[in-house]
Symmetry: C2
Subunit: 662 residues, 2 copies
């Protein structure tokens, strides 16, 4: 047998709903070199298999079933003997030793099901957005995108007035706005439509114009041109100027299509970030990006698998062409911003942790592969540091922290946790890697807050029986972030686990597998959707405690750096989709959030998306976001001497220092 | 048989050398509807068949051979009975009545063979260009393209100086140029290279920068970035900044790749305009553009078949990537400019003859499909009227007419003839449709001035025997423009044809075919390359007389409008590739050019290309070209009452008014 022997692998995809799976349903064939891990082969074959722990065997999410062929695989606590017998394996722990046929069970669906929908589709998020919009309207942070409509009635050309169409239009527009003609320009896109539009409309037309340049020498660009009354309209029949705001999260991408004239939302939606198959956290993605072709693979994974179908879907919902998207703003963390822009994030994770860019300048949306008007500007929210990105600059804007008198703490809870502390006078920021625990990853029973998720629970201290609140009211399928906080808090309060998260009481609810891993049976198999016991393992609790510890220790390190204590925090603004379901009281009880009066906590929704919305609506808002990013002091926690000690101290329930949680 | 019956046509291509033919040699298959003209089927199948008369059966150039199958075809004077027997047909006169196999004899080669090479490859053209370059150097019209190289040595980032790469670079550049940082930007292209380049070069780098904006608020864009000494170089090893100048003629496209730092020419070449299969003149192209998909078909015909391969070839010759072309200027007539830009030229030919645009503003070269740096600007030379385009604005600049004291006439001789008369004080312009006669089209024995072409001749008045000068000295293959002028002049001088161009002497040199068309046997078959008699028909003479009449009557109409006579023309500057071989004395003798002292005539080469070269080299030159275009008075000859009378009067040898040619 030669070293370079390859085997033929057939991936049979069952279910799943990502664009990629839809477009290639059924089977994917791939030639894999001998000995390669099956998960790696799947990545190379572009088969989406969920692997939030990046393939170290700990999360148990990459289950596949070997239907035929030879593969070598370690046994795992994630696989019962019966399942093992049926051919179920962890793809990351399985080596290819021959031609294989592999069942991938609704893989795309699997990672999708963990996604937290963080757009403005639900009524609570929408209410928060509407309140923000009203405030921004009042403050003059809307309605100045630079784009507007202009209606023109031009003279019809004649044999003794044979001015060309373009010059005729520019002359008319310059006259209307009292400008010099040299300050008016027209896009190639509009120029190509011009001769027909002018003649169809009898030399009357509506122009989509963009004002640019300094006030001293203003310029106007004509982006598009329509015959009178033929441009895009809202459901009330009023003309609109569509624009797009995008939030790329490590786990989820959310978007709103909005009208620049009224500020109204035309369509909204979200989708799993297709990069997740390369790892759940930014570090795994950065490492993948440094592999041959990796940067482009990651760029396309978020763009093609997720953003393009979503943009087309929103445009279709709003009844517009994508070429009628005239302005785009995008907010994302530093790694996501780099990957989306096709710029290597390699040096983000290597000392001295230097991004390729904080600010990007203005790009054209189409240059980054987005379907939009060819001259539509793309505004990228600026990053502050390697792990505090545009989602935070935009988020701090939307949180209005920069206008507060009181000392306020902004927390964005996602795969990473980012913190900003300050007010109208100063802003300090840092980031910690919470991992995907709050988003349902890294937790064997984790899922997003949708039907079947346990979102809250109480545990009877004597019987150890949990009372569960399940979204949708049906059978339990898993536990979402807020449910986890409750569950761990209740297990601790009932003395079932100790401050280190280890089981200390015996019961039929606590079981131990052959690998010595203890688990709590949240729901017995007869009452679950799958028929299997729903378990919370010590490993899950461990992951969770590290996530909450990362957040608390980051808060404490930053506050301590300012020679303050937790009482100095006058207000806390919790952002990020997963913040929505959190019961703050219980989050305090387990030592995740500081023990300050509960009324100081406020949930403010997906501020990355609402901040991007403000940027696309308003040049003034976009400038303010820039200013915020430039003005923030970035604290690199990994370089901070006391952070690691703080972290270790916080990996207890609630904390090694009981005084902090009286 | 149903109406929608289709037949399978196999085009067998023999020889030929365009990129299209090269890439698909051998056979092209096509399903054609019953009854369609074979020429039309070939167009739809993208098979290049030369048809300068646009398919009315008059030029005889679209010869193909039916190898098998059923087709219906009229007999033609262009096909001898023997050839007809062999299956030769005019594609335009042949209807498809069944499955066919058709031999297309070196079709691409055929139309290519008619092209006048109008680049700076030959020594005469190069000499003219070098003289112009020296003059422009003196006048400060070179070396200010706005692009330059900047070498930077940046501080290496450290843990307490974690500024991002982009901000580090911008800061360094702003400092170097004494600018505010907000005035410096970087292209996405350079940003994507930035992290690797900085680290490979130890934070030293060379930037390709472009200065923009007003002097009051200057801006700098970083287009590209290299590690020290790794950018493109000339053969002497000196750094270069490549840029491209393009002339799109109706018949030929010519280009030079030039260095913006030194002005030197890096590579040059020319290629037939692939649109020629849709007709030899601009009117045929405009009509084709109004058909379904026609505009895009024409745009791609010049771009894909001709410009892209040529640009890649020049880049390869110069040893650069096409992404290292940092600036592009293009000059073309109004129709070619519209078609290249993908803007409908439909209204150019409909009263009141209004173009879609005179000036275009600045586009990105890549937006128009050119391979270049993604942020390279494309400067389109501005048009003056429907039939006086950017080739003339650029040409007038290169002719220096705008600086002359004396009244000067600029003539661009191509498929159209364009005239400009004036000096430093005023400029008036008009165009006439000379047709492709001078470029070898519309003339059955026409060809370009290359090996085998008769470029000069004398005819012995008594024996009627011609003495020929043949380029290359071999056997005669055809007659080029200058040869035609001689031939018609000599036939007239010898009394063989009358002033109307009809044969009036009998001889074995004059023959008449079965359709009653008389011809002059220039060379007997035994002495020609093909073995067939080389004939000049009355039809050819007719086409030629109309071409020369169009030019002379245009000159006369314009001069008369100014209340001047021909003596007012102090200097004549003849531009355009086909001007190069013209014997002015003989052109005057047949009444093509005005009878003024011969020393007033000057040949100045392909000024469309040299003007485009000046535009790409110099912002000052580009601005002057704009100013020239805005300042020219455009005379629409077709709307001028006396032009038709002048034209009819000029369709005589030399002219109906003998006083004009004493």
């Amino acid at each position: 047998m030669s070293e370079s022997q390859t085997f033929s692998i057939t991936f049979k995809i069952s279910g799943g709903s990502s664009a990629e799976i839809d477009s290639a349903p059924g089977e994917i064939h791939f030639q894999a070199p001998k000995g390669i891990p099956l998960l790696e082969a799947a990545k190379q074959a572009n088969v989406a298999i969920d692997a939030p722990c990046s393939g170290n065997g700990s999360c148990g999410k990459c289950l596949v079933r070997i239907l035929s062929g030879r593969a070598e695989s370690e046994k795992s606590r994630h696989i019962s003997p019966e399942s093992y017998e049926e051919g179920w394996r962890l793809a990351c722990q399985t080596k290819v030793l021959g031609d294989l046929t592999v069942l991938v069970p609704g893989s795309a669906g699997a990672f999708k099901s963990r996604m937290k929908i963080a757009d403005f589709g639900d009524s609570r998020e929408r209410g928060i957005f509407d309140a923000l919009k009203a405030e921004l309207d009042n403050l003059g942070y809307t309605g100045n995108s630079g784009l507007e409509l202009a209606v023109l009635h031009l003279k019809t050309p004649e044999i003794d007035d044979p001015m060309a169409d373009r010059e005729r239009l520019l002359h008319g527009l310059a006259e209307k706005f009292g400008l010099d003609e040299s300050g008016v320009n027209i896009s190639l896109f509009a120029l190509r439509k011009l001769p027909a539009v002018l003649r169809e409309g009898d030399f009357s037309c509506t122009c989509v114009i963009r004002r640019e340049g300094e006030k001293a020498s203003p310029e106007i660009s004509i982006l598009d041109i329509y015959t009178p009354n033929s441009g895009p309209k809202n459901t009330a029949g009023e003309p609109i100027l569509p624009a797009l705001a995008i939030d790329i999260g490590t786990t989820t991408v959310a978007m709103v299509l909005t009208d620049l004239l009224s500020g109204e939302l035309l369509a909204m939606g979200s989708e799993g970030n297709g990069q997740i198959r390369y790892g759940a956290d930014v570090i795994s993605r950065i490492i993948e990006s440094t592999r041959s072709g990796g940067l482009e693979r990651l760029r396309r994974a978020v763009l093609d698998d997720c953003m393009l179908p979503l943009i087309r879907e929103l445009a279709s919902k709003a009844g517009i062409e994508t070429s009628q998207i005239y302005r785009v703003a995008l907010a994302a963390n530093t790694t996501m911003t780099h990957l989306f822009a096709g710029v290597s994030p390699e040096f983000l994770r290597l000392e001295p942790y230097v991004p390729a860019f904080f600010h990007s300048g203005k790009f054209r949306a189409v240059d980054l592969g987005l379907p939009a008007h060819p001259n539509a500007e793309l505004l990228l929210a600026p990053s502050v540091g390697s792990y505090v990105g545009g989602d935070i600059s935009a988020g701090v804007f939307a949180s209005m922290l920069f206008m507060k008198e009181k000392c306020s703490l902004f927390i964005d809870l996602g795969t990473n946790g980012e913190l900003v502390f300050g007010n109208g006078e100063f802003l300090m920021t840092c980031a910690c890697s919470a991992g995907p625990a709050f988003e349902g990853g890294d937790i064997s029973c984790g899922m997003r807050a949708t039907d079947g998720a346990i979102e809250a629970c109480r545990i009877d201290g004597s019987t150890m029986t949990p009372s569960l609140t399940i979204i949708g009211g049906g059978k339990a399928a898993g536990v979402c972030g807020s449910g986890l906080i409750d569950l761990v808090g209740e297990l601790f309060a009932a003395g079932i686990i100790n401050p280190k998260g280890k089981f200390i009481r015996q019961s039929d609810r606590v079981c131990c597998d052959e690998w010595g891993m203890s688990s709590f049976v949240i729901v017995h198999g007869k009452d679950t959707e799958s028929g299997n016991d729903l378990l919370l393992t010590e490993g899950d609790i461990d992951n969770f405690i590290r996530a909450k510890g990362a957040i608390f220790s980051a808060i404490r390190t930053m506050i301590a750096m300012l020679d303050l204590n937790m009482d100095a925090i006058d207000e806390v603004y919790i952002a990020g989709g997963i913040g929505s379901g959190i019961n703050v009281e219980r989050a305090v009880r387990i030592g995740m959030l500081p023990s300050i009066p509960l009324e100081r906590y406020h949930y403010i929704g997906n501020t990355s998306l609402s901040g991007a919305w403000a940027m696309v609506q308003s040049q003034k808002a976009a400038e303010k976001v820039d200013e915020i990013a430039r003005g923030m002091t970035y604290l690199e926690l990994s370089a901070h001497p006391s952070y690691m000690d703080e972290f270790i101290a916080a990996c207890f329930l609630p904390h090694t220092n009981g005084d902090l949680f009286p």
